[in-house]
Every structure is written in structure tokens, then in C-alpha cells.
């Protein structure tokens, strides 16, 4: 296969050569619809597409990548998610975890670990939220205490996606003393989840997919060389994720929602023009907005508060799509075993995860409209 990093292959050529590769390689998921099945399928996609090169484009060579612009990763995501070969949730984790490792892990650690993740040999998770720290993430209290060359971690995380399948976790902890300002007392570690003292308990959620976990840390010893960045860099690390979440992750989610819109057109042929039109208009609007964000990010712009607009548009479009599906498929979600049921229920969280709709509006009011303090 020719490599776009070395030759002047355009994005369109990259896409068409990926499309022909996908036509020749059957990656259709097995009929196992369990969460474990989704994770296994995700691993299979990563492995086969890493070995063929596709999963390596858009990442730097230092971590096993083949280089080229991040747009190439978006093309791969669109083609994979557009064919429903993988679930969007596990897929998009890559876009926050890998850039974090590239920016904050020691180079040797990133070079050792990232290829394992990209090749689907390992699953990782992100331990940020705590029972007492949701919207107010900076108040987190999971404690890391220095002990010689090691750190000892105690505390609890919650809403940690896929922790039960993960080998490692990017974990935010509280360090420093009682008078360290709260944003400067946060430190990140890359923790092996098979360490003694770690226990993982999946949460039962209303949509029936036990993706989210509680993770308990009881005197867990982590070597100092697993710290990501320096002590106190954790808040910056969390903020540095945002541009990736708001660009590439969102684009992937939008690509996925368009496939669900297509599905709805098939499943509800007698739909009303008005309802389909409104759902489509909302999706089209966030797609247009997000496309501009991707281009700005690709051109080196620093993404910030303005992406709260993308977040509000996306959450609104997602909930509208599934509200429309429920309206246009009367009785189906309630009475039949259909993927629409779980997806509808999951969409209720779209205005909660990743910063609630209210937090986004607070940011827009303060930072974009300059309305002063509340």
C-alpha cells in the first residue's frame, strides 16, 4: 500500500483506497450484541486496520504512526462508523487518550504503550469524574501521596467508561497540600488496572449497556515514571483533551448519527416531512459547524470556549433525532426489542456527559457573550 505520509496522496484518494480495501476485507461484526462483543469487535478492527496501516495514519511515527494530517483519522472513522463496523463510543476514546499520551507521557512510555492501544491489544479508560465531582471536576479528591519513587493512590472514580475491559487508566488525582490552589493540585497518572488495590464495578444504567464503571483505589502503588506530565499538570491535561473531544470525537459522533438518520428513513417510510426535516436540519447544522471546527483545528487554531456551541448543537441534534425516532415508530421502542430502544435511552445523557448543557451555556454566557459573573 502506498503511504500518504510519503507521497502526495490527497484525502480523496486516501478515502477511495480505504473504501476499496474495506470492500475486499470483511470486518462485519459477529452477531454478539453484548458490550463485551462490541469491545472485542473494536479490538479486531484496530488490529486488522493497524496491520494494514489504516489505523496508523494521522499519528506521529514516535508512537507507531505513519504521519499525515489528523483529517486522515477522521476519514477512517467516517468509513468505519458509516458502515456500522464499530460502536462510536469505544471508537472515539482513541481521540482523547492517544493525544494525551503523546503530549504528557514520557516519550519512551508513549512509544511503548500507544502502539498496543492503536493495534487493539489493549483497552484503556479515563478516570476523571468522582461521586462528589461531576460538573465541578476541579474539586476531585482521589488522593495521590508520594512514597519514595512511587505514589500511593486512594479514592473512587465513577462514570469510567469501559474500565471493566481496560488494562490501563488515565487517572486524575489530588496532590499537594491543603493550601495548594485546587486547580494546581491535580496530577495525572497512567495506571495499570491489574495493580493490587484496584477494583472495578460496572454501573447498571437505564439503557441496559453497562459501559460505565465505578473504580476504587485502595492503597494502589504507582511508579513515579507513570506520572503524565509533572505534579500539578492534571488540570491542564484535562483541558487539553477538550479540543480533541470537540473536534474529531464530535465529527465521528455526527457521522454515526447520519447513519441512524438513514436507518430511520428506512424504518419509518410513512414519516411526516416536517418531523424528518426538523431532525435532518438539526443534524445538518451541527455537521456544518463541526466541519468548520475541524478545518480550524487542522489549520493549527487553538480551540476553546467557542466549541461549547458545537457541544450544545450536537446534544440538541442527537436528542431531537431520537425523539423523532420515538414519535415516528409509535410503540416500537416501548414494546419491541430493537436497537432504537437502547439508543433512545442513551441519548438522554447527551446533555449531561462531557459537560452538561447548563455548564456549556454558562461558558457561552461568560466567555463568548462577556456577560460578566453570575
Amino acid at each position: 500500500m502506498s503511504t500518504v505520509a510519503d507521497s502526495p496522496m490527497t484525502v480523496a484518494e486516501f478515502r477511495s483506497s480505504l473504501q476499496s480495501w474495506l470492500a475486499d476485507h470483511d470486518l462485519t461484526p459477529a452477531p454478539d450484541h453484548s458490550l463485551a462483543g462490541h469491545i472485542e469487535q473494536m479490538g479486531r478492527i484496530r488490529r486488522e486496520m493497524y496491520d494494514a496501516g489504516w489505523m496508523r495514519y494521522g499519528w506521529p511515527s514516535e508512537v507507531g504512526g505513519l504521519g499525515g494530517p489528523a483529517t486522515l483519522r477522521l476519514v477512517v472513522a467516517e468509513e468505519v462508523l458509516g458502515r456500522n463496523l464499530a460502536e462510536p463510543g469505544p471508537y472515539s476514546m482513541m481521540e482523547v487518550l492517544v493525544p494525551t499520551m503523546i503530549s504528557y507521557a514520557r516519550p519512551e512510555l508513549a512509544a511503548e504503550m500507544v502502539p498496543r492501544y492503536l493495534r487493539g491489544e489493549e483497552t484503556w479508560c479515563q478516570g476523571f469524574s468522582e461521586p462528589g465531582s461531576g460538573s465541578d471536576l476541579a474539586s476531585l479528591s482521589t488522593k495521590a501521596t508520594p512514597d519514595g519513587d512511587n505514589w500511593v493512590i486512594n479514592g473512587q472514580k465513577v462514570w469510567t467508561s469501559f474500565a471493566q475491559f481496560s488494562q490501563r487508566c488515565v487517572l486524575l488525582t489530588r496532590t499537594g497540600s491543603a493550601d495548594t490552589p485546587k486547580h494546581q493540585g491535580i496530577t495525572a497518572f497512567f495506571v495499570d488496572l491489574d495493580s493490587p488495590g484496584v477494583s472495578v464495578r460496572p454501573l447498571r444504567t437505564m439503557h441496559g449497556v453497562d459501559e460505565f464503571c465505578e473504580v476504587y483505589f485502595d492503597d494502589v502503588v504507582v511508579p513515579g515514571d507513570r506520572m503524565l506530565g509533572k505534579p500539578g499538570d492534571g488540570w491542564q491535561l484535562a483541558n487539553d483533551l477538550l479540543p480533541f473531544e470537540r473536534s474529531t470525537c464530535f465529527w465521528q459522533r455526527i457521522a454515526y448519527l447520519f447513519t441512524r438518520m438513514d436507518r430511520l428513513l428506512t424504518d419509518a417510510p410513512d414519516a411526516s416531512d416536517a418531523e424528518i426535516g426538523a431532525a435532518y436540519l438539526a443534524l445538518h447544522t451541527v455537521r456544518c459547524k463541526s466541519a468548520e471546527t475541524q478545518r480550524r483545528f487542522a489549520d493549527g487554531a487553538k480551540l476553546g470556549a467557542e466549541t461549547s456551541i458545537d457541544k450544545v448543537l450536537l446534544a440538541g441534534a442527537e436528542q431531537r433525532l431520537y425523539d423523532t425516532a420515538r414519535d415516528l415508530l409509535p410503540g416500537v421502542l416501548e414494546l419491541d426489542e430493537t436497537p432504537w430502544r437502547s439508543e433512545f435511552l442513551y441519548s438522554r445523557a447527551a446533555t449531561i456527559y462531557g459537560g452538561t448543557a447548563e455548564i456549556q451555556r454558562n461558558i457561552i454566557a461568560r466567555r463568548l457573550l462577556d456577560l460578566g459573573k453570575e
Binding site: F258, G277, Y280, H284, A291, I309, V312, A365, L371
Partner: protein
């Protein structure tokens, strides 16, 4: 025309139109003609239309330039009038005079007329979308200023979350609509952009009116001019409601949701 020249043109237009608004002579038909509007429309149709129509909205001025955009798209000479379809199967004529009309926004020299010939709609819809977005921005500026200045319970009402969130929602709607306008290049894209812009302007009208309370309901404050204007602009060449339905029909006929914005 490069970016620098376009920026200078934007400055000139902005100054001229703001001055007209300040002088309470909001009909800028002649001023635009003097600045070479028809030549601009010939040479840089997309940029000049987006610029002029957005500024009409932002400054609260008006001109019958929608006629020119529609005529230009039809390959006909500009400067005159052409019957324009309005929502509800109605037709209107937007005259190139300084007379007041009978529409809800009485400043506009618009009157109803009999059915005209079919005309190309995409360019006119995109142009109106920019005007609606500009009007929405003008309302947001007024409401933001009011929220910061108006003190109740001993503090500016901008400090109350209920007020902040309405203004935030307004900005979200406007920014989303502007993205669809920049992406609009074909018939469906222009239709969607006009729908998004109409919806954004109506959202802005609702939230800004509410934030402004009593003063926004008086004729002495400017808000009502923008509110009435977007009602008329939304109806021209298809309302947000109608166009959303048309988009739904198009998507249903295709059996697939077109991905119009791509990387």
C-alpha cells in the same frame, strides 16, 4: 478581489449603512447603488451578497436588493423588481421606492401582488439567510446591552442564569445558522441555510424580547423593528417551517440523509 479589498469594502458598507440607520433614513437603496452594488453582484456574487445582506440585518437598514439577487440568478438585468413568492402561497412585490408598505414591518415598501413566474430561489434564500442572521445578531446586541445595564434586585439582570441561558441559546442558534450559510452551495444547502437562519432569527426574537422585558415592547425602543423585519424575511421565499418540511420531503424521496458539509 482579495481579502484586503473585501475588508475595505466591508468597512465602507458598514459605515454607510450605520450612518443611514443613525440618521433614521434606513432605506439604503440609493447609497448601495452609489457604492456599485450591481457591479459587485456581477463580479463577486457570493461575497457581496453575504456582506450586504448581513449588514442590512446588523444595522437595521433595508433595500430591495433581493430583487437583484433573484434577477441575477435568473440571468436577467438587475435594478428592477420581480414578483417574489411568500409563505402561504402568497406573492409580494418589493418596490424600489421610499414608500411605506402594508406588511407588518411597515418600513419595507412591500405589497402583495398576483402570482408571478417561477424564479430561481437558491441564491435569494441564501441572501435572506444572511439578512436574518444579521438581524438576529442585532437583536442579541440590544438584549445583551440591556441585560448588562438593567439593574433589579440590586444587580444587573445579566447575572441571573435564566437570562444568561436565553442569550446563550440565541448565540448557539445564530452561529449554527451562519455555518449552514457558509456551507450552502446547492439548492438543498441554500434551502437548509434559509430554514436554519429563519429559525435562528425567530429564536433570537423570542429570547431577546423576553430578556428586554417591558422596554422591548415599546415602539420607542428599536427591538420591535427587528422583530417585525424577521417575520417578513422569514416568510419570503419560504418560511423556516415550510422549508424544513421541504427538506424532509427531499430527504425522504432520496431515502438517505445527504452529507452536504464535508472535510
Amino acid at each position: 478581489m482579495d481579502d484586503g479589498e473585501l475588508g475595505m469594502l466591508a468597512d465602507t458598507l458598514h459605515k454607510t449603512m450605520s450612518a443611514a440607520a443613525a440618521a433614521e433614513t434606513p432605506n439604503v437603496e440609493e447609497a448601495l447603488a452609489e457604492l456599485g452594488w450591481l457591479e459587485m453582484l456581477d463580479e463577486i456574487p457570493y461575497e457581496s451578497t453575504a456582506l450586504v445582506f448581513r449588514l442590512l440585518g446588523e444595522t437595521g437598514t433595508h433595500a430591495g436588493v433581493l430583487n437583484d439577487v433573484v434577477l441575477h440568478a435568473a440571468g436577467r438585468p438587475g435594478g428592477g423588481t420581480v414578483p417574489l413568492p411568500f409563505t402561504g402561497g402568497r406573492w409580494v412585490l418589493w418596490e424600489r421606492t421610499d414608500h411605506h408598505g402594508t406588511a407588518v414591518d411597515g418600513e419595507l415598501p412591500i405589497r402583495t401582488t398576483g402570482a408571478g413566474e417561477q424564479v430561481p430561489l437558491a441564491e435569494g434564500r441564501r441572501a435572506l439567510g444572511w439578512w436574518l442572521a444579521g438581524s438576529a445578531r442585532a437583536m442579541l446586541v440590544l438584549a445583551r446591552r440591556h441585560a448588562l445595564d438593567r439593574v433589579q434586585f440590586g444587580r444587573p439582570i445579566a447575572s441571573f442564569q435564566a437570562v444568561r441561558h436565553r442569550l446563550a441559546e440565541t448565540l448557539v442558534a445564530i452561529e449554527g445558522a451562519e455555518s449552514t450559510l457558509r456551507a450552502a452551495s446547492d439548492d438543498l444547502g441554500c434551502l437548509l441555510a434559509k430554514a436554519a437562519a429563519g429559525q435562528a432569527a425567530l429564536t433570537a426574537a423570542k429570547h431577546c424580547q423576553q430578556v428586554m422585558g417591558g422596554i422591548g415592547f415599546t415602539a420607542e425602543h428599536d427591538l420591535h423593528r427587528h422583530v417585525k423585519r424577521v417575520m417578513v424575511l422569514d416568510g419570503l421565499l419560504g418560511s423556516a417551517r415550510e422549508l424544513t418540511g421541504e427538506a424532509g420531503a427531499a430527504v425522504r424521496a432520496l431515502g438517505r440523509a445527504p452529507r452536504l458539509a464535508n472535510l
